[in-house]
Each structure stands twice: as C-alpha cells, then as structure tokens.
C-alpha cells in the first residue's frame, strides 16, 4: 500500500473523527422548528434501498472489505 495514500487516508480519518467528535461533544439539541432542511428528501444519508443494494452488490462482490453500513457483509450470494 503506497505510503502517501496511507497518510492521506489516515488524515481523512482523523479529520472526520475530529469534526464528529467536536460536533457530538456539543450535542446541542436542534429544536424541531429549526429542522426544515431535514424534511427535504434530498437530505438523507443514502439513496433508496434498491439503489443502496445495487451499489453494495458492486462492491461486496469485488472487494475483500465489506460492512460498516448496517447490512450483512458476506454470505447470501455464491459470488461472496
């Protein structure tokens, strides 16, 4: 694994963890009357279930790493 890519990946992980940690540390409750943006269907963290399935199929059958998305990571298909 190239060293530069590892460094970039670890930096990205650190940045995400930092942002998330700071955010969760605040944990300020967002009142319901300020959540208008979250009523928009576009603001959801994934596509619909069928689109998520076809993307998962693309990756879990071609890569040695799967999981971390709340779904099963292997099995249920003869190509895994």
């Amino acid at each position: 694994m190239p060293r530069l890519q590892l460094v970039l990946m670890r930096s990205a992980l650190g940045a995400c963890a930092l942002v998330l940690g700071l955010g969760l540390a605040g944990c300020a409750v967002v009142p319901q009357n300020r959540r208008a943006n979250f009523a928009d269907p576009m603001l959801k963290s994934s596509d619909d279930a069928l689109d998520a399935h076809r993307q998962r199929k693309l990756y879990t059958t071609r890569e040695a790493a799967a999981g971390g998305d709340g779904k099963r990571a292997g099995g249920g298909c003869s190509c895994q």
């Binding site: 992980l13 576009m42 994934s46 999981g67 998305d69 249920g76 003869s78």
Partner: protein, 396 residues
C-alpha cells in the same frame, strides 16, 4: 446507519409543518378535509422497480478462461431487476416486500444441468445463471420513539440456496436529535462444491453472522453526522470452490481458504445541507479482518436541485485494500491456504458516478419518480465495471 439516518430524516420531516421545500415527495396537503379525515387503516407508501446493468472486463489469476498459468478473463454481464412494495398498516406497522432478480453470465458454476453432469467451470464458468431472492420486512413501532424491524428472506441460484434473517432495534433520543440503531443479520448458505476441473464433490455450507451498531446525530439545523460499526463472523466453506490457483508444476490447483473469518468495519459520515438547494455527503470507512486485509474507503457525493423537480448528483469513491495473507499468483503444490482471486489481492479502486432524478406530481398516484444513474468502477489491477441503472415508481 443509512437506514437509521433515513428514518431520522423522515421522523423530523413529519413534524416540520412549515416546510416549503421544492421536492415533490415532501409536499403535503394540510387542507381541513385532509387533516380531519384521519389516517386510513392501510396505505401504500411506495412501489418501485429498478433495473441495473453491469458490464465487467478484466483478468484474474483465479480464472481458467485464458493461458494455463496466466490471468484468465473476468468478463461478465449482469442484468439485475428489483421490485419493492412498502405498505403501512395502521399507525404502527410497516410491511416491505423486496424482490431482486439477477441474470448473470460467468458468475457461478453452470449447474443447470438436470442430470448432474460436469458443469463448465473452465471456459466460461456459466453461460447464464439466474439468481433470485425474496425478502420481507415488518417494522413495528413499539412506542413514539422505539421501533423493531424483523426480516426474513431466501436467495436462490442454480447451485446455491441461502436463508436470510434480520432483526433491528431503533430508538430516537434527545427529542429526535439522535437515532440509535442495533441490528443483527444471519445468512445460511448451502451450495454445491466442485473440484477445480468442474467435478462435483457434494454439498457444503457457510454461515455469516453480522451485528451492527450505529448512531446518527443532528449537529446543526443543516448537518447530520453518523457513526457505525459492524462485526461479521463467517464460518464454513468461504471459497466458491471453483476458483483455481496456478501452481509451480504448470497446472492449476484448487483455492483453499480458512474456514473462519472475523471482519470489522467502522465508518463515519457527515451530511451537510447547502444553502443553494444542494447537499454534500462525505464518508470514511475503515476495515480490518483476521485474514490480514486492511482497507480504507472514502466517498463523497454532491447533489443539486434544479428546476424544482430535477436533482442532479455526482459521486466519487476511492478504496484501498491490502491482500489476504494467502494471496499468490503461483503457489507451491503443498500449502495450507492459497488464493489467486483478484478480489482478494492488493489494489486500489475508484468509482466515478452521476445521477439524475425527476419527481413528477400526479393527481391520483402520488409522486411519479424517475431516476437514472451511471457509475464507472476501475481498479489498479485492470478490472473495469460500467454500471447503468434506471428506476421508476410511485411514492404516495
């Protein structure tokens, strides 16, 4: 995590009376008649179909469709059709039926012969294979902030049967500012095993047990964050049994993989609303298992609404993985474990994608939505996959 975040979004959406966004699916009538009429005993939430075509090219040392010791072809085509039906029953039950059907070339051993002849695992693996699955999920709302989802399914391919079970607990916390989700999945696979030349050697099985925990949290009126962890334990025959490995004597021998595998994956994601009717999603995932695979994956997706009903999207994904401990392209004749499967080797992979989604409001059938997407997946070992997907359906 995705499901949890999605439901969190839906939950907060239900209480935001004053939203005046552009998306057709979120537009609701608040006329007196509609409010006073109450909710019907049963109602259909969504019906949709999705067709996806995969076209793959590349070469891998596990394939026998090529030079004796050289990499063989990994070319294959998949036509995948999915159908989904979601229905509410009363205030507390939601039924979901999902049927994916895969029409595949070269994915499995061709075991369709009725008289148990020798399948072709050498030249094409399978001229044509049909895989189908049916899944049913029931979500029950136990209280205002707690729900349970149970699921069962069955997967069938020519030489392969699988039973699938799942259970998920979901709880809203801090006035719906956070959602905790705990889930477990179990897959039992039962399938034919083959010698490297294609002769059957009876039936074999594998078990996959998976537990997950995820937490999504509103960080601001426009930011949602989520963390997720998944543990997967696999037991049994973890090879497809017809993969081969070039050997030092000039022949090919069978792949041998350990019968146990423990896999860990953790991810963090951020979803940000952009003031110009757009969203940005970033995700990082770390993966590690006891076959010595370490992987890092970063993903980004940008979506932009145009002309009220049209949403355009662009996405990027980079995946970097090390190989399993027993990966080789030329094995000694005696070895405990060995594989030449290119999917288990070291590589980095990139995906570039684009999508267009259109929502059209109808007078009778809710919102008609149409979606088209294209992804190009390419790996450092030469594998290429072109994916085109098309979906249509109604949301009520």
């Amino acid at each position: 995590m995705a499901a949890a975040a999605s439901r969190l979004g839906a939950a907060v959406g239900a209480v935001v009376i004053g939203w005046s966004g552009q998306g057709g699916a979120a537009e609701r009538s608040f006329a007196d008649a509609d409010v006073l009429a109450g909710k019907p005993a049963s109602s259909v939430e969504a019906v949709q179909t999705r067709i996806t075509a995969y076209e793959q090219s590349g070469r891998g040392y596990q394939s026998q469709a090529g030079p004796k010791l050289g990499p063989g072809s990994e070319a294959l085509h998949v036509l995948q059709m999915q159908g989904e039906f979601v229905m509410h029953q009363g205030d507390s039950l939601t039924h979901r039926v999902w049927v994916p059907v895969d029409l595949v070339t070269s994915a499995s051993a061709d075991a369709s012969d009725r008289y148990y002849g020798k399948p072709d695992v050498v030249s094409r693996a399978s001229a044509q294979n049909l895989g189908a699955e049916i899944d049913y999920q029931l979500t029950a709302r136990a209280s205002a902030d707690t729900s349970w989802t149970a699921g069962a399914g069955m997967h069938y391919e020519e030489n392969f049967l699988s039973w699938l079970y799942s259970l998920e607990y979901q709880r809203s916390l801090a006035e719906d500012n956070a959602t905790l989700s705990l889930s477990a999945n179990q897959a039992l696979d039962w399938f034919d095993a083959f010698y490297v030349g294609g002769t059957r050697k009876g039936r074999t099985s594998r078990s996959t047990t998976n537990v997950n925990a995820s937490l999504s949290q509103l960080l601001s009126p426009s930011t949602l964050a989520a963390v997720s962890y998944g543990l997967t334990l696999q037991r049994g025959e973890l090879s497809n049994t017809w993969n081969s490995v070039p050997a030092v004597n000039g022949e090919r021998v069978s792949e041998i993989l350990p019968r146990l595998r423990n896999r860990h994956a953790a991810s963090v994601s951020l979803l940000q609303w952009l003031p110009w009717q757009g969203t940005l999603e970033l995700r990082y995932r770390f993966y590690r298992d006891d076959w010595e695979v370490t992987a890092h994956t970063i993903e980004g997706r940008l979506r932009q609404r145009l002309f009220r009903r049209l949403v355009l999207g662009g996405s990027f994904r980079h995946h970097l993985q090390s190989s399993v401990f027993c990966f080789t392209t030329l094995t000694p004749l005696v070895s405990s474990f060995r594989t030449a499967d290119s999917d288990l080797g070291p590589f980095d992979a990139d995906t570039l994608g684009g999508s267009a989604e259109l929502d059209l409001k109808t007078n009778t059938y809710g919102v008609l939505f149409l979606s088209f997407g294209y992804d190009h997946y390419f790996r450092s070992d030469g594998l290429r996959v072109n994916v085109a997907t098309w979906a249509s359906g109604f949301r009520f």
